[in-house]
Amino acid sequence: MKSEAHKSGYPAPGPEQWVELYGDAMYRYALARLFDPEMAQDLVQEALVAALDAFKRFEGKSSIKTWLIAILKRKIVDHFRRTQGRQPVDNFDEVVARIDSMFDDTGHWTVKPNEWDVNPVKAYEQQEFVDILHQCIAKMPDRLAEIFMLREFEEISTSQICHQLQITESNCWVMLYRARMQLRKCLETNWLNEGQ
């Protein structure tokens, strides 16, 4: 069977073709983040099995390729969570307080954002940047990380996310705002300092 029509109505490569079609791409992506061939292979395998379990729920809103790589990215974030020995504490209030402290009472920056030495369009090519990005997502509170990964890894619209998570769309925008602001701060601290 070359491909099968999924419930989205579009033909999607079936699971038996995934390793052949996307194995190399997934492996390269994982290897570039982890620098450990065995660990990279393990995470690709974990991602493929997870994808198989979730395939019935795949609605074809993104391509299989984007979807598989999104699951792999989640596995990489999980891996960093494990290796960081992260406590499963939802430090949500801390994030809100941290974002509030980025601005003074008049709404101006307390610490001004720096110019990053990264081409916004080709950011994915800068390996170190992407590496620290995954680690910064791993440090986020679970709720923020979840919503952020749905939006940016799986490229799901906010209206679909709020339907899926049973939250209002304005709540979704606020959560994404907090996630992005925390991420940029984390990247600025860890990536810029490392680059110096």
Binding site: Q45, F103, K122, R184
Partner: protein, 95 residues
């Protein structure tokens, strides 16, 4: 700063919102005018764009290699490939 102009905090909210939905004409104009006079907020906008592109990229480089017919790229070792196919087959049968 004129009273009608947005501040950095409001600009940061709009910069994020603009990644999730089409901003209104006035919001877009306000954000642009603010960035004209505020270098830190120009940096913020680029930072948010970089984060988006870093998250959503990943396979483009691989696709370019394939299109260009380059075979120098790292590939999944054959034994790992076979192992994964076997694991997926087993898993499929169990379903």
């Amino acid at each position: 700063m004129p009273r009608w102009m947005i501040n950095c905090k409001e600009h940061s909210r709009l910069a994020s919102l603009g990644l999730d939905q089409q901003l209104s004409f006035w919001d877009r104009l306000n954000a642009r005018v603010h960035r004209l006079i505020c270098p830190p907020c120009r940096h913020l906008k680029k930072q948010l764009d970089s984060i988006r592109n870093a998250c959503r990229g990943g396979l483009a480089e691989y696709d370019e290699d394939r299109k260009a017919g380059r075979h120098t790229a790292v590939t999944l070792p054959e034994d790992a490939c076979q192992r994964m196919k076997a694991v997926l087959r087993d898993h499929l049968h169990k379903q």
